[in-house]
């Protein structure tokens, strides 16, 4: 169980995270989604006691992170897979954490085997690919048999096989009562893994809720041969619409209504379908685009 209440972080006059609140329930996998620089990592660092928030609170399993006597036994954390000492072997990296958590070294070896690094355990981390470092980070996170997992961009650098493996691991973890939150800047990367979404943009939560509700979206996607003609036809029919970046529109109406309005105006349609989460994707796309313009 993770509870985040009104977390805010300011650096001087820049607001990195603004009034962010959400909860993650046991048995769920929450995707913490947002473009790069949206405040995901800052939020996760505040949640894990690395960054003091300007205001607001967060708890894990009912306690502030800093008040957990041996946090690794309650919550497994991986904030940056690249942040590992290149001069240590994979095995030594995990065994060091095992010593800190008070779990036997054999447990470290088991976790290395579980993430598929048993054969690479004796190699130095400097020789690992990013995907292998992600696995190493996950091995460390799982060491203390935690009830909660917090993973920042765990799919980064992983191949499709690795992403599928991680999906199985996390869903299995949640199905046994665990709480998972993982961040990503790519909706597609985590869409099949998560069942809850918290979307953040420019430091603020812009959407949150169960994945299927957010993806259900509303309305219909339509794209025509002549976008401006189609726009006029739909507007004339009194259908509220929103232009999309590919030249199509998202219309707050059923497919039949949209089709009839287009037919009445003699517009040729190239695409007509239920929006199916396109709203979320569009929202996400806008966030990213806005971020790129700002940069």
């Amino acid at each position: 169980m993770i509870t985040v209440e009104n977390l805010t972080k300011r650096y001087g006059r820049t607001v990195a995270v603004s009034d962010v609140s959400f909860t993650c329930e046991p048995g769920t996998v929450t995707g913490f989604l947002g473009p790069n620089g949206a405040g995901k990592s800052t939020t996760l660092r505040m949640l894990t006691g690395l960054t003091p928030p300007t205001s607001g609170t967060s708890t894990i399993a009912g306690r502030r992170y800093a008040d957990l006597p041996n946090p690794g036994r309650v919550v497994g954390v991986m904030l940056d897979a690249a942040a590992q000492h290149p001069g240590r072997t994979g095995r030594e990296t995990v065994r060091l954490s095992a010593a800190l958590l008070g779990v036997p070294g054999t447990r470290a070896d088991e976790m290395l085997a579980r993430v598929g690094l048993a054969d690479a355990a004796k190699r130095r981390v400097g020789q690992y690919s990013l995907g292998m470092r992600q696995r190493l980070g996950i091995a460390t996170a799982l060491l203390g048999d935690p009830a909660v997992l917090i993973l920042d961009e765990p799919a980064n650098g992983m191949d499709p096989e690795g992403i599928r493996w991680m999906r199985g691991l996390l869903q299995d973890f949640a199905s046994r009562g665990g709480t998972v939150v993982l961040s990503s800047h790519l909706l597609g990367e985590v869409q099949a893994t998560v069942d809850q979404l918290v979307v953040i943009g420019r430091g603020r939560i812009v959407a949150s809720g169960p994945l299927d509700e957010l993806l259900a979206g509303s309305g219909t996607l339509v794209r025509g041969l002549d976008p401006s003609g189609l726009n006029e036809a739909l507007t004339a029919a009194g259908l509220p619409l929103e232009p999309l970046l590919d030249g199509g529109f998202r219309v707050d109406a059923g497919a039949e209504q949209v089709g009839r309005a287009a037919a009445a105006a003699g517009q040729v349609l190239l695409e007509l379908r239920e929006s199916d989460g396109a709203g979320l994707e569009e929202l996400f796309f806008k966030l990213t685009a806005a971020e790129e313009q700002a940069a």
Binding site: M1, P26, R45, T48, G49, L50, T51, P52, A61, G62, R63, Y65, A66, L68, P69, N70, P71, G72, R73, V74, V77, L79, D80, A82, A83, Q84, H85, P86, G87, R88, E92, L96, S97, A99, L100, L101, G102, V103, P104, T106, R107, E110, R124, T140, G144, D145, P146, A147, V148, R176, G177, G178, T179
Partner: protein
């Protein structure tokens, strides 16, 4: 029942198993494991020190540093043994050369103890697993001092061996203590000066957090001071000359300059240590 209950068994010093009737979900996970985990406890300070010691010797750079110090000492000793120049063989003459590399490089153990985690960004893992940073930092200081004492002891043993060897070659019985200072009190001075050196390095490391920068500042700043200050302040420069203070402490003859020595130590060691702790506790791990 939710997995919240797992926290009950993580109470500091509580080694009782989970209370009856607590979380079924976490227990379900336990059955899936090959290794049964011991109950969670807080991290003892001794564990932290042991882990910090281990961290300083389990990387290639750490090992190279330690072996480098020993190799330099050995090279100095061999050089002295082959250049006895008909002067009386004494422990002091051998220590003079074996300590050159030690004085220069041992503080780097202290520096790296404090900077390595920030340079390599492993602070992210360390401080999520051990959020009470003051304890971790203290463990790092202590581990650095312990390690330097071990290395220094190895060098001293080598030096003793070479002194005896020099006596054998020379056919004389070497002097182990000097006229004004016995062997043991001379040794105590060496260890004390070394510990201060390492703490100073650690303090600089804690403040600056990046190995390369800390090493440069550690070597350049006090040296610049000891070169420039006499020009500016004349005799009063002694009040801030930390290397002069080290020399007086190692020889344990203060020549009436005890207040000056203590002031230099306070300014270059005590204050940086306090500032380093303060900054290290607040620095954002990214």
């Amino acid at each position: 029942m939710t997995p919240i209950d797992t926290t009950r068994s993580t109470e500091m010093t509580t080694d009782v198993a989970e209370p009856a009737g607590s979380g079924t979900a976490p227990r379900a996970r336990h059955t899936a494991m090959a290794t049964e985990l011991p109950p969670a406890r807080g991290q003892s300070f001794l564990t932290l020190v042991r882990i910090e010691l281990r961290k300083s010797v389990d990387t290639r750079s750490g090992r190279v540093l330690l072996l480098g110090i020993l190799a330099l000492a050995l090279a100095g000793l061999v050089w002295r043994l082959t250049h006895l120049e008909n002067e009386p063989v004494s422990f002091a003459r051998f220590a003079e050369v074996s300590l050159v590399g030690v004085r220069m490089l041992l503080p780097v153990i202290g520096i790296m103890a404090m900077t390595s985690e920030w340079t390599q960004r492993t602070a992210l893992t360390t401080f999520t697993l051990s959020p009470r940073r003051a304890r971790v930092q203290l463990a790092k200081f202590l581990a650095a001092i312990l390690l330097s004492v071990l290395v220094l002891s190895a060098v001293m043993v080598l030096t003793l061996g070479f002194t005896a060897l020099g006596g054998l070659i020379d056919g004389s019985s070497p002097a182990y203590g000097s006229a004004e200072d016995g062997f043991w009190s001379g040794l105590a001075g060496i260890y004390l000066a070394n510990a201060l050196n390492v703490v100073m390095g650690a303090a600089f490391g804690a403040i600056l957090a990046q190995t390369a920068i800390a090493v440069v500042v550690y070597f350049v700043a006090p040296t610049l001071w000891s070169l420039a200050a006499p020009e500016v302040f004349g005799d009063r420069a002694d009040w801030l000359d930390v290397f002069g203070a080290f020399g007086r402490i190692a020889e344990r003859s203060f020549d009436g300059k005890l207040p000056e020595s203590l002031t230099a130590v306070a300014v270059w060691i005590v204050i940086p240590t306090i500032v380093g702790f303060w900054i290290g506790n607040r620095r954002e791990a990214k």
